[in-house]
Symmetry: C2
Subunit: 709 residues, 2 copies
């Protein structure tokens, strides 16, 4: 993003002056709403109604055209019908306005007729350089400046709005405002809301890019229906990571049913969800399953605290509630461990004898008649060095709530560790009061635990990948292999070429020689030594095992010669009389990985890893990383497989060479990155993992090229 564009986005986010094109005098009409809202909530900048037929709009002086306005205009809110928008934008650009919002619908979302209009819009944007939010969007608001170029009805019944450190960008207008409204109900302060609509220009990622640089915006929330330009989002995630600002994100279309619907209903293309998910995780983006989790998580992030570990101490007035919290905390990757003896002793001194000082700490229901018990318990908990996070579990008890809240507030001030409250039942007033005090408060242990789990994950996140290209890549070989295939008009590399390609990237391959005849195969086997595999080598036959084109564990010359003859017969039968053979040294047994490359429409080249056999075939246990990766990120990718215990000592087999596997995957990711224009797909299957320290070896490899341009 150029600095100028960024500046345009900043002026969109924080406009000192807003011209409303087509502003209506009627505050109820859509085109009257932006003026009405900014008057009602007290916009701090210059509000400029533009209306060709009126000198006054809703009591404000109006202008017949943009030319009549003196001074700079930061933002134009274009409230014109779809077919007038293009001309309106041209006028804005001519007037030097850097950014505009187009509210009108009737563009790409309505099909062919609208697509034509949206193309015209895109042309104006490209020609003039004006940055546009929309079309088909509700606009934005910024509560800090009370800038509200929007016609949403979400604030119709509201006179007060809760400001806060959370900014929210939504592709959907309607659902976006529902989430905004739910956030307000939950007492979660929102500083900025933007709806990107059809994204003819500005995407959610670009808007987030502007917000992440905004002081006082500490938490970024996004609601996405589809992602076109994934790398843009990842760049913003990298910046957010630097600034320690979490991106909390809901993206719909995770299910097959959902993805189908996402494609049918918006102008967005839902990228393959697994790729999105892997890319997000790799870049520290906190993905959430729905709006409630989004707001719950924002609540624990909003006060800026971070967890320095995963150890949760819970204090509750019901033993059972503590156990329930321990259950759900475990489900969310937190540790609820018994305190050590000395600290249990300290806790035991301040709580009733029939309580439990172990953790989960049971303060007993005596708490209701003796609220000071909570203060005493929390006093100990905030001092306990093995506590990374604290959860207080209460319920009902409206009558005792003042003292309980005081005790919690004191403890919250006495520590910089995250502290949350679960207050189930009752009037709800204690919850609201705690939230006003900046103390996250929930009604359900499970929701609190889920939010704390996300907080811990983010707080303890590994560094983002900072891959460095290995300096031992043999670029000359790589270029030659690709060029050969291109010159011969081939779209597929044969196994030998594919293996040489990954070998040039430093990935160990099983020793192999091509051979054109049975005699040559025997000679190759002699050169290799030991038992060999003989395989069909063809750039026309994709799945050689399907045609019986692989013979394993051959040792004597007669066997090899016979097998070679049979395979060449098979090739002729399968329509490739020019096929050769590959004679390959048999690799020892090992744990089988599958590692591949593919090209994602939104994120470009990615690597995919999984375990061979049951796990990938039956459980579809695979993970995706965006290329390139460093070895540490590749290792995390492998460890995120469900079967990751297979890397360790298991079933009497010693631990596997995970480091070598990670190195191979990282190198593969560089291949994916470097040859993004040439390689459409590449599969290493299997990559055999020997025991730790003994490396990996690729036993089979197949690459498919992109069609030539």
């Amino acid at each position: 993003m150029a600095a100028a564009a960024n500046s345009a986005i900043q002026r969109l986010l924080h406009p000192r002056s807003i011209a409303v094109l087509g502003a209506s005098d009627n505050p109820i009409k859509l085109s009257g709403r932006p003026i009405e809202l900014m008057k009602r909530f007290g916009y701090t900048g210059r509000l400029l109604p533009i209306n060709a037929r009126r000198a006054e709009v809703q009591g404000l002086p109006a202008y017949r055209g943009l030319d009549e306005v003196d001074g700079e205009i930061d933002l134009a809110m274009v409230m014109l019908p779809a077919d007038k928008v293009v001309d309106g934008l041209r006028a804005c650009a001519a007037r030097g306005i850097p950014a505009a919002i187009v509210g009108a619908s009737g563009f790409a979302e309505i099909g062919p007729r609208g697509e034509h209009l949206q193309r015209q819009l895109a042309e104006v944007i490209a020609e003039t350089g004006i940055r546009v939010l929309g079309p088909n969007c509700l606009g934005m608001f910024n509560l800090r400046d009370r800038a509200m170029p929007t016609f949403t009805s979400a604030m119709d019944d509201t006179s007060e709005l809760v400001d806060g450190p959370v900014a929210f960008v939504s592709q959907s207008g309607a659902f976006g405002t529902f989430i905004f409204s739910a956030a307000q109900n939950a007492g979660l302060g929102i500083s900025h809301f933007l709806n990107t609509g059809n994204e003819a220009d500005l995407s959610v990622a670009e808007v987030l890019g502007g917000l992440v640089e905004t002081d006082g915006v500490d938490v970024l929330m996004a609601y996405l229906e589809g992602v076109h330009r994934g790398r843009e989002l990842l760049a913003v995630a990298r910046r957010a990571d630097e600034l320690d600002k979490p991106i909390l994100l809901v993206k719909v279309g995770s299910s097959e049913a959902g993805a189908r619907a996402a494609q049918s209903h918006t102008a967005s293309l839902a990228g393959e969800d697994a790729v999105f998910d892997g890319a997000a995780r790799q870049h520290g983006i906190v993905r959430l399953a729905g709006q409630e989790q989004l707001l719950d998580t924002a609540q624990v992030f909003a006060n800026g605290r971070r967890a320095r570990g995963r150890r949760l101490s819970t204090l509750s007035l019901s033993g059972g509630a503590g156990v329930l919290m321990a259950d759900v905390a475990s489900d969310n990757g937190l540790l609820v461990q018994p305190w050590d003896e000395a600290w249990q002793q300290r806790m035991a001194e301040v709580i009733p004898a029939y309580g439990s000082p172990r953790n989960p700490i049971d303060l007993t229901a005596t708490l209701i008649s003796d609220p000071d018990l909570l203060r005493r318990g929390l006093d100990v908990a905030v001092q306990h060095p093995g506590t990374d996070m604290i959860a207080v579990l209460l319920g009902n008890a409206d009558n005792a709530s003042e003292q309980l809240i005081d005790a919690i507030e004191q403890a919250h001030r006495a520590t910089d560790r995250p502290l949350v409250v679960v207050w189930t039942g009752g009037s709800g007033r204690p919850r609201r009061r705690l939230q006003e005090l900046g103390i996250p408060c929930f009604t359900d242990p499970g929701r609190a635990a889920a939010a704390l789990g996300k907080l811990a994950d983010f707080s303890l996140r590994p560094p983002l990948p900072s891959p460095e290209r290995p300096d031992d890549i043999d670029d000359q070989v790589v270029r030659a292999i690709v060029q050969d295939a291109r010159d011969q008009g081939r779209a597929q590399l044969d196994e030998h070429e594919s293996s040489r390609l990954i070998a040039a990237y430093g990935i160990p391959c099983a020793g192999a020689f091509p051979a054109a005849t049975p005699d040559a195969a025997v000679a190759a086997a002699h050169d290799l030594g030991g038992p060999v595999a003989v395989k069909l080598l063809s750039d026309r036959i994709g799945h050689k095992s399907d045609v019986g084109g692989v013979r394993l564990g051959l040792t004597d010359d007669a066997e090899i010669r016979a097998a070679a003859g049979e395979l060449l017969d098979i090739a002729r039968g399968a329509g490739d009389p020019g096929a050769r053979l590959l004679v390959q040294r048999m690799a020892g047994g090992g744990t089988e990985l599958i590692a591949g490359i593919k090209h994602d429409p939104a994120f470009g080249p990615v690597v995919v890893v999984g375990f061979g056999g049951v796990l990938v075939d039956v459980l579809a246990d695979s993970q995706v990383g965006v290329a390139p990766l460093d070895a540490a990120a590749a290792e995390r990718l492998l460890l995120s497989l469900r079967g990751s215990r297979l890397f360790g000592e298991v079933r009497g087999k010693p631990a596997r060479d995970l480091a070598a596997a990670a190195d191979a995957v990282a190198r593969l990711s560089w291949l994916a990155h470097d040859l993004a224009d040439d390689i459409a797909e590449l599969d290493v299957n299997p990559l055999l993992l020997d025991e730790a320290g003994k490396g990996v070896v690729a036993v089979d490899c197949l690459a498919v090229l992109n069609p030539a341009e």
Copy 2:
């Protein structure tokens, strides 16, 4: 449960007269609260304060002792200190009162001193036959009769209580009342609430057993911290299944951390959670992870509707919200499928062109300005034959809510299919209104989908197992094998005995002969024919593979003789000079199952199944069923394994003989049931599954007996 006991429980649940022992004149004191509550809410029966020192209590005539009361007394609420409870209960029993509630704490929950008191309490109960709720419990209430023998503070701020078809039994007092209060906040009507406390007598299961027989109670909710007598709960589940009344249940202690805490904090022993989970699923109990899911699920069950299939149609005013709903619906086992063309056409006729009639159906945000659009859309949806459930997704829109609610209510009346609303944001008034109309309403699509998923699971539940003992079990052989081992003072059966045991239950075993010498082994191999395995046969060496005690695939006499000699040497080295050999016909390759028996402290004999290899070792993919099972239930058990696709055609292998495997597991479950007193553990590992129609064969088996009594 005897009829008398049941009748005592019915009188506890619906008392026509309640004596309060130790009733205080002070309505704020714990011992004054039951009277205060029943006066405030208007108990319809006879309320009898018993107070040795007062003639009047809180304006009611009081009695000095139970003897002074005329007529029957259904229930005694014993509000005496712990050390007076035993005498009080004796007096109640002497007066012929069938049931009592003991509120006092100071029993088993406080350790040794209290355990002594609780033993005394148990003795009185056993001697007199009085049924007791508690001790250490808050009591119960029944809103139908306004019977409120409880000293909970949950209703302190309330003058109105929402009655309804849901009864709730909680082991925990405090957390139970929080859940009750949260239910009231959510508009969920509760007819009965009971807190079982220490369960010196009445368990949650027994109380549920009384409630399930109560007319007007259609949904049973339970909160459990531990289960002692699991079979009691399953018997109630069976009755609830007959009456089509769901049991919705939260049981804490699912995690290791939680189970540890559950044991430390209550007098309950948390049975192994996986067993509980399997038993619950097998008996149609709907287990939920926490209180919010419990109440959400109760909400969809409360109006009595059932789903006749899993096909969900969603109508939303935001395309994205529809996609999100499709995602979360899929996660919960529901199907959001595009409608067929003809019905899409019908929907398309009533919605805007830029909406989507496919399903998820996007009615577009036009809905807000044209609420009739929802009525038109729902008109089509309720007629659509391929719709099993309907979800309407709305948000904010308070101003249009009246017309929207009317449209929803009309549709709800026009169909008997489940219909739920997700209304995100806004004032909350529309949600409350819909709930009053009996229409489940949520704020979050995920929560609605989870609840609908549970409703579908319950509606479509398979019949409970009705196992019939196979008539071909060779009981004589079974008795002889067990008796032999008992006579010899052995706790372990050797492989041959174990295999004969399961063979007597009709489970196919690989052919095998024991042999004491190498020569006998060769002779045995000749008798079996084909390649054989030779294994150590010892009741002292548990894991024969660990000592190298298994030789596979032996074909010629010399091989067999040599192996036999080596194995006998190994046995001598391992301290069993009397060991013999087992010569077994080699079984062909197949899919490996593990099937076992163990004894659960709460549920008794259970069977455990899993796939051999990676799935069980790495993913701990196993399932538990309570014995005995019928073949259909055994098949469901196997299909609930995560790796269940292995039963089908996969990786080029034909489908496996699932029916034969299910039959073997069912037979094993009968063995577990019949020999519950003798067999502590039994493992069949592996049970090899051949392709469909070709059966299964047990290749290795080991049984361990319970210590002799």
